[in-house]
C-alpha cells in the first residue's frame, strides 16, 4: 500500500489545550479519505497543521514518499497539497474567473519586469492561466458565472468555486474542510459526483465532513479523531461498528434515529 500522505505522531497545543495528541493519519494514493469526529475533535487543527498554516509541536510528515516540513503554506501548496476552508474563503471582490486564476499563481512565473514590459512570454502565460482557469470552472460546472463577482454566487456555487480554485494549483492531494456544510440533499448528491470525478481524474482527496451518510458513501478510508487522538481508522464499515467510535460520535446519532 502506498500512502500519498503519511503523518505520524503529530501533536499540537494551544496554550494548555492539546488540540492534537500523537495523531497519525494516512491517505492512500487515489483514495477519498474521510477525517471525522465530533465538534472540537481537532479535525480543522489537523488540516491547518498539515497545510502549514499552524506549526506542529512535533510529528513526522511524509508526502508522496518524501519528508516534507509543513512550515510555509506556499511551500506545502507547491509540493501538491491544496485545501479549501470550512467557512468559505473566496476573494469576494474578484471575479469568479480571477479567483481561479489566482490558483495558478504557484504554477506560473511571470515576474515584475516581464509584466511591466508585457513580454511575449508573459502574454502567453497569461493566456494559458485564463484558459486553465476556464477549464477548471467548466470542470466544476460554474463556467457560466465566470465573470460574476465571487460574492454574488450562490452558496453551493461558492463551494464549487473554492474547489475549482484549489484544483487550479494542480494538486496531488485535495484537502476539503467540510465541503458539504450547509448544502441541501440535491447539492450534496452533486458534490458527491464531483468528488468522485476528481478522484477518477487522479487527485487524491482528504475530507473533513460531518454528514455521516455522505462520508460513509464516498470514502474509502476513514480516520476518526476525538479530543485530539485517533480513536479508529479503517474502512467505513469497520469504523461504523467500532465501539469507541459509536461511543464518541456515531452513538449520539444512533440515539436520534
Amino acid at each position: 500500500m502506498t500512502f500519498l500522505l503519511d503523518l505520524q505522531r503529530v501533536s499540537k497545543s494551544f496554550g494548555g489545550i492539546r488540540a492534537l495528541n500523537n495523531a497519525s493519519l494516512q491517505v492512500s494514493k487515489g483514495s477519498i479519505t474521510g477525517l471525522i469526529g465530533p465538534n472540537g475533535a481537532g479535525k480543522t487543527s489537523f488540516f491547518n497543521v498539515l497545510t502549514g498554516l499552524y506549526q506542529a509541536d512535533e510529528g513526522e510528515f511524509l508526502f508522496n514518499g518524501q519528508a516534507y516540513n509543513p512550515h510555509a503554506v506556499d511551500q506545502v501548496l507547491k509540493a501538491g497539497i491544496a485545501r479549501t476552508f470550512q467557512n468559505i474563503r473566496l476573494f469576494k471582490e474578484m471575479s469568479v474567473l480571477e479567483n481561479v486564476m489566482v490558483g495558478r499563481h504557484t504554477r506560473t512565473s511571470a515576474g515584475l519586469m516581464a509584466t511591466i514590459f508585457k513580454t511575449a512570454a508573459q502574454q502567453l502565460e497569461e493566456q494559458q492561466i485564463r484558459d486553465e482557469a476556464l477549464k477548471k470552472l467548466d470542470y466544476v460546472g460554474i463556467e457560466p458565472f465566470a465573470h460574476l463577482q465571487a460574492k454574488n454566487l450562490s452558496y453551493g456555487a461558492q463551494r464549487r468555486l473554492e474547489i475549482a480554485r484549489a484544483l487550479a494549483t494542480d494538486p496531488l492531494l485535495l484537502a476539503l474542510d467540510e465541503p458539504a456544510a450547509g448544502m441541501n440533499q440535491t447539492e450534496k448528491k452533486e458534490l458527491q459526483f464531483l468528488l468522485e470525478k476528481i478522484r477518477r481524474d487522479g487527485v487524491t482527496i482528504l475530507m473533513i465532513e460531518h454528514d455521516v451518510r455522505l462520508v460513509m458513501g464516498l470514502c474509502d478510508d476513514i480516520t476518526v479523531l476525538d479530543e485530539g487522538r485517533v480513536i479508529a481508522t479503517g474502512k467505513p464499515d469497520n469504523v461504523r461498528h467500532d465501539p469507541a467510535v459509536i461511543e464518541a460520535y456515531l452513538g449520539v446519532a444512533q440515539h436520534g434515529d
Binding site: L53, D74, L77, F91, V102, I116, E125
Partner: protein, 354 residues
C-alpha cells in the same frame, strides 16, 4: 456611443490643450495648479498600489515623496559642496546630476525605504499598520528637519535651495522655450513632462493589475489566509507592493524638487499623506481611473474655491463676509463627508459605469 479609441483620443487632445486653456484664462498660476494635480495623480497611483491593490493602509506615504525629493535636492543643487569641504574640492559648483540619473536613483532609493518600512510591518494590518506607517512618515520628516547637525545633510528647516530644473536634450525646462515663433512657458513644459510620466505610470499600474502579481496583491487584500493557502508568498508580495508604491513616490518627489527648485521638510507633513490617501479613497480604491479622478478633483477643487470665493462674495454681498480660507476648508470637508455618505466606495469605484 464612441469606441474606446475615440474616447481616448478625445481625452488625449483635451489633456494636451489644458495648459494652454489654463494659461489664457488664469495665467501661469493655473497651469501650476494642473502641474501639481498631475503630480498628485502620480502619487495617488503609487499609493493605490499599496492601499488599493494590496490593501495595506499606509499613512506615511509622503515619506517616500520626501526621500525622492531630497535625493534630487542633494544631487542637483549646490548644497552638498556648500556643506562638505571634500565635495567642494571635486565639484566646486555642485553635482548637477542629470535627471536621467536622478529620477531612477530617487525611485530606487525610495523603494529601498519602502522595503525597510515594509519588513517590520508585515504582520500588521488595518489600523495597526496605519499607525506604524504614520510614525514612519513623521520620523522621516523629523530627520529631515534635524539633519543639519552634526553634519549638514539636509540643511534642516531652511530646506535646500537652487535645485536644477529638468532639462530635455540639454535645454532646461526652467525657462520658456521658443518654438516656431511660439513661447512655451516653463510651467507648460513641465505639464507635458508630468503628463507623459503619469501616462507611463498608468500603463504600468494597469499592466500590473491584470497580471499574476496584481491578482496576488488583490487576493492578499481580500483574504490573506486564503491567499497564502493558494501558494502566494504574502511576505514577498507585500514587500514588492511597498517597494513599487514607494518608488513611484520617490520619482514624484524628484519631479517635485526639480519643478519647485526648493524643498523643505514642511512640504512633507502628515497632512500631505492624508490628502494623497483621501484622493485614493475618494476616487475609488484599487480602480485606476477612479484614483486619477479623485486626485484631480482634490488637487484642483481647493484652488478653484480659493480663486472664486472672494469674487463671489463681492458679487453677492458687496464685501467679504467670511475669510475665503475658512469657507474653503468648510466646503472641502463637506464634500468629503457627502462622498463618504453617498458614495462610500468612492466616486468611481471598480465595476460602476463600466
Amino acid at each position: 456611443m464612441m469606441s474606446k479609441n475615440q474616447q481616448l483620443s478625445i481625452l488625449a487632445v483635451f489633456a494636451c490643450a489644458v495648459p494652454w486653456l489654463a494659461l489664457s484664462i488664469g495665467g501661469n498660476y493655473w497651469v501650476r495648479v494642473f502641474d501639481f494635480a498631475l503630480l498628485y495623480a502620480f502619487l495617488a497611483l503609487g499609493l493605490n498600489i499599496v492601499v488599493g491593490f494590496a490593501g495595506l493602509l499606509d499613512l506615511g506615504y509622503v515619506a517616500f515623496y520626501a526621500v525622492g525629493a531630497y535625493c534630487a535636492g542633494l544631487l542637483a543643487s549646490p548644497h552638498l559642496p556648500h556643506a562638505f569641504e571634500l565635495i567642494r574640492g571635486v565639484f566646486p559648483t555642485g553635482l548637477h546630476t542629470n535627471y536621467l540619473f536622478i529620477v531612477p536613483i530617487a525611485g530606487l532609493l525610495a523603494a529601498c525605504f519602502g522595503v525597510l518600512l515594509g519588513a517590520p510591518t508585515l504582520k500588521l494590518r488595518g489600523d495597526y499598520l496605519a499607525i506604524v506607517t504614520l510614525g514612519f512618515g513623521e520620523i522621516i520628516r523629523i530627520f529631515l528637519n534635524n539633519l543639519d547637525r552634526p553634519i549638514n545633510l539636509t540643511n534642516g528647516p531652511k530646506g535646500i535651495n537652487g535645485i536644477d530644473p529638468m532639462s530635455v536634450s540639454g535645454k532646461s525646462l526652467g525657462k520658456a522655450w521658443h518654438f516656431v515663433g511660439m513661447d512655451i512657458p516653463s510651467v507648460v513644459l513641465y505639464y507635458y513632462v508630468f503628463l507623459l510620466l503619469v501616462c507611463l505610470v498608468i500603463l504600468i499600474c494597469a499592466r500590473l493589475q491584470h497580471s499574476r502579481i496584481g491578482r496576488a496583491w488583490i487576493a492578499i487584500r481580500e483574504d490573506e489566509i486564503a491567499a497564502k493557502a493558494m501558494g502566494i508568498n504574502t511576505r514577498n508580495l507585500k514587500l514588492l507592493a511597498f517597494a513599487i508604491g514607494a518608488s513611484f513616490g520617490g520619482v514624484a518627489g524628484a519631479l517635485f524638487a526639480s519643478f519647485q527648485g526648493f524643498i523643505s521638510p514642511e512640504s512633507f507633513s502628515l497632512s500631505e499623506s492624508v490628502v494623497i490617501l483621501a484622493m485614493v479613497v475618494l476616487g475609488g480604491m484599487g480602480h485606476i481611473p477612479g484614483v486619477i479622478i479623485g486626485s484631480l478633483i482634490l488637487a484642483i477643487f481647493p484652488e478653484f474655491l480659493r480663486a472664486t470665493l472672494v469674487p463671489v462674495q463681492h458679487f453677492l454681498f458687496g464685501k467679504i463676509l467670511v475669510d475665503a480660507e475658512i469657507i474653503r476648508q468648510f466646503i472641502y470637508g463637506c464634500v468629503l463627508i457627502l462622498v463618504i455618505r453617498f458614495r462610500p466606495e468612492g466616486i468611481w469605484p471598480k465595476g460602476k459605469f463600466a
